[in-house]
């Protein structure tokens, strides 16, 4: 009897753990709070849960930066105010690793993972690369008052930093002595006064070397290191309050949010407002766009996580999370069932783009051959060759797009 009871209880415990694991695996959005709590949100079930108990943490462990631990997005890395990085495994539904990344002063303002190495950047501007829990030789001084450090998701060895009176700099980890690009302030304004600098958030624009930033002096700017100009190639102003967060929808559009709770979609080609999103009560601290779905999630001081549709400014979901929220990560997995759908959407989009790109080639296909009714063998072979090459290029394009 006794043995049976033990077995039963063991099975029960197993079930509970399994359920917990399932729940953790199903989370689509991870949110870091000011109280140090990591929260997981399940959009399908419209529910959320604290992944570390309220008793385990306090305000000194305020989450200040987050990133994915691997490309499958099963690990979430969180950095907190006391310069500790923790890794949460969604499969095991628990914190698996904890690192003490001390160095510099202030909280960790940027966190990235690159080839099993963690890159951290503190407020005082000290960028360090940590490999196997040991400090690597790479150490970069990026200047004081850093507000954000991010790495380029496509070439993760490139880092960008920016802060108060510390303009955008792009660094290469392999060449830590000098920034590969350092932005130059814009020209003085119409009163011949210097325009102050205060980078609050930045993003690398995919498929290019461009970087978009938003500033505390309400600017949205795009820098292009390739064009040989250190001043921004685009600069626009938005609203009257500091723009605290941004994320790119695609290479042409970005969602920005400011300290008074205004979130808007902005076109980066002409620097124009597309539309605003509604429903915010307080400052926006972090914005994340879904890589494939047209969804954007945002969180901030009003303690709500909101998910909007990017193109139509419709509010899809909102979750009250009890604490002020600092960071958000949007997982690429939405459901176990929907991937097929997502693929379909992707492919249609890709097809469309393919068409628009190869439109001039298609014109030739539709045209009748002029001259004799029977083209010579050579000609036929040629056309077949052309078709094959076309197919190859199309496939390549598709693959590229999918990998993005």
């Amino acid at each position: 009897m006794n043995f049976e009871n033990v077995l039963r209880s063991a099975i029960k415990i197993n079930d509970v753990i399994k359920k917990g694991k399932m729940a953790a695996r199903m989370n689509n959005v991870f949110v870091g709070a000011e109280t140090g709590i990591l929260k997981g949100v399940n959009i399908e079930k419209q529910s959320w849960a604290n992944l570390n108990g309220a008793k385990m943490v306090d305000k000194s462990q305020e989450i200040s930066a987050m990133c994915w631990g691997n490309s499958q997005q099963t690990e979430v890395c969180i950095a907190n105010k006391s310069q500790v990085v923790k890794v949460y495994d969604t499969e095991a539904a628990d914190f698996v690793e904890e690192f003490d990344f001390k160095g510099g002063t202030g909280s960790i303002k940027g966190l990235a993972k690159y080839d099993n190495a963690y890159i951290t950047c503190t407020e005082s501007g000290l960028i360090k690369v940590w490999k196997d829990n040991e400090e690597c030789q790479v150490e970069i001084q990026a200047g004081d008052n850093i507000n954000r450090m991010r790495n380029n998701p496509q070439c993760p060895h490139l880092l960008a930093t920016g802060g108060k009176e510390n303009d955008l700099k792009i660094w290469d980890i392999n060449r830590p002595e000098k920034p590969t690009f350092a932005a130059k302030n814009v020209r003085c304004d119409w009163l011949d006064l210097r325009v102050p600098i205060w980078v609050l958030d930045l993003r690398f624009i995919p498929d290019s070397e461009k970087v978009a930033i938003c500033s505390g002096h309400k600017h949205v700017r795009v820098y292009d290191p390739k064009c040989g100009q250190r001043r921004p190639v685009l600069s626009m102003e938005f609203d009257e309050h500091p723009i605290t967060a941004m994320d790119l929808v695609n290479d042409m559009q970005t969602v920005i949010g400011n300290s008074k709770g205004t979130m808007a979609l902005v076109d980066l080609r002409k620097g124009r407002l597309v539309h605003k999103y509604k429903g915010f009560a307080g400052s926006i601290r972090s914005i994340a766009c879904h890589p494939t779905m047209p969804w954007v999630t945002s969180c901030g001081l009003d303690r709500f996580l909101r998910i909007h549709e990017t193109k139509s400014n419709k509010l899809l979901y909102k979750f009250y999370m009890k604490s002020r929220l600092n960071c958000v990560l949007f997982s690429k997995r939405i459901t176990a069932e929907t991937p097929a759908e997502i693929d379909e959407i992707d492919i249609t989009v890709e097809k469309d783009s393919g068409r628009s790109g190869d439109s001039d080639e298609d014109v030739w296909d539709t045209l009748d051959t002029v001259g004799g009714s029977k083209p010579s063998k050579r000609k036929q072979n040629n056309t077949e060759d052309i078709d094959e090459t076309k197919k190859n290029t199309n496939e390549k394009k598709l693959k590229q797009n999918l990998s993005v």
Binding site: P242, G279, A281
Partner: protein
């Protein structure tokens, strides 16, 4: 119209013709008389019906059905998910470590700096004096055209725990900024219906005892923050001998301030003697950190057209 016809019929009996419609009477005097007559009888009928209902209830005694609760805007309030559950651990912990926690942990004693917008006129000055009477351990300073951003570091240096700024428009106080020092938060209120003690009938004289503070209906998460901010204006340990009580009553997002002296007349009855002043506050914004209108981060901003979607939706 239906009512009128009914009334006319009942007066003249069933056999007679239905009386013409009152509005078709051409003579103004007679029309008025007929109208008043109609009103009188309708009232009588209503009273009769009520009396009958009451008698029925009395006859049934305990078995009478419960009285219907009248629908008000408050009790029909739209569901608010931010309503705080007192057993909630996360919120409790959040509050235990927030900026006003030093007051509630008794690490600081309140010391309040009251000032106004630049060059205040009569009524605003008088209101400041009244506030000084209500809030113990407070000082009123003339603004002298100083920037608030310059005032705040000085106030922190002199160990003030709160800063109150009264704004005026056309000689009438119309705004109140309440900033907790040294780390915020800052609340901005609309101030209205200010009544000085002298304008209140039979008002009493305030004493210097520490008052008790009553905070009513601050139930949402935002309400909690505001309630804590208001509570931290007054010293700990009220002196009950003074029987002085300051009330912040929230109703439909308007915070009503009243100031009384109470007296227990007998075991059941309490007498209240209003001391003044009276005023009404409405929250405009709550900002993290000390006052900074340009670069400050807002925790909550009232956006009229976006938020006021329902008359039954409240935020405090």
């Amino acid at each position: 119209m239906a009512k009128m016809e009914k009334y006319v019929k009942s007066e003249e009996g069933e056999n007679s013709l239905p009386a013409p419609n009152i509005s078709s009477i051409k003579n103004k005097q007679r029309r008025g008389e007929a109208y008043r007559d109609m009103k009188r009888t309708l009232n009588k009928e209503k009273k009769k019906a009520k009396k009958r209902q009451r008698q029925e209830r009395e006859a049934l005694g305990d078995k009478a059905p419960p009285k219907k609760i009248p629908k008000t805007i408050e009790n029909q309030r739209v569901y608010d998910e931010t309503m705080v559950n007192p057993e909630d651990e996360e919120v409790a912990q959040d509050e235990a470590t927030d900026e006003t926690a030093t007051y509630f942990n008794r690490e600081t004693t309140p010391k309040i700096l009251i000032t106004t917008s630049d060059r205040p006129k009569g009524r605003t000055n008088a209101f400041c004096k009244q506030l000084k009477k209500v809030i113990p351990n407070s000082d009123v300073f003339y603004r002298r055209g100083l920037d608030l951003k310059k005032v705040i570091p000085q106030a922190i240096e002199k160990e003030y725990t709160d800063l109150v700024v009264i704004n005026e428009d056309r000689k009438v106080p119309n705004g109140l900024i309440l900033s907790h020092l040294p780390n915020g938060p800052t609340a901005h209120f609309k101030l209205s219906n200010v009544k000085m003690d002298k304008e209140i009938k039979n008002h009493g004289e305030s004493t210097s005892h520490f008052p008790e503070v009553v905070l009513n209906n601050f139930n949402t998460r935002l309400g909690h923050s505001i309630g804590r901010l208001l509570a931290s204006l007054f010293p700990h340990d009220p002196q009950f001998t003074g029987r002085r009580v300051a009330t912040f009553h929230n109703q439909r997002d308007y915070i009503f301030f009243r100031h009384h002296r109470y007296q227990f007349r007998n075991a059941k009855k309490v007498g209240l003697h209003e001391l003044g002043p009276r005023f009404t506050l409405k929250l405009r914004s709550l900002q993290k950190g000390t006052f900074d209108s340009k670069f400050g981060e807002y925790e909550w901003v009232h956006k009229r057209h976006e938020m006021e979607t329902s008359r039954r939706k409240f935020f405090l």
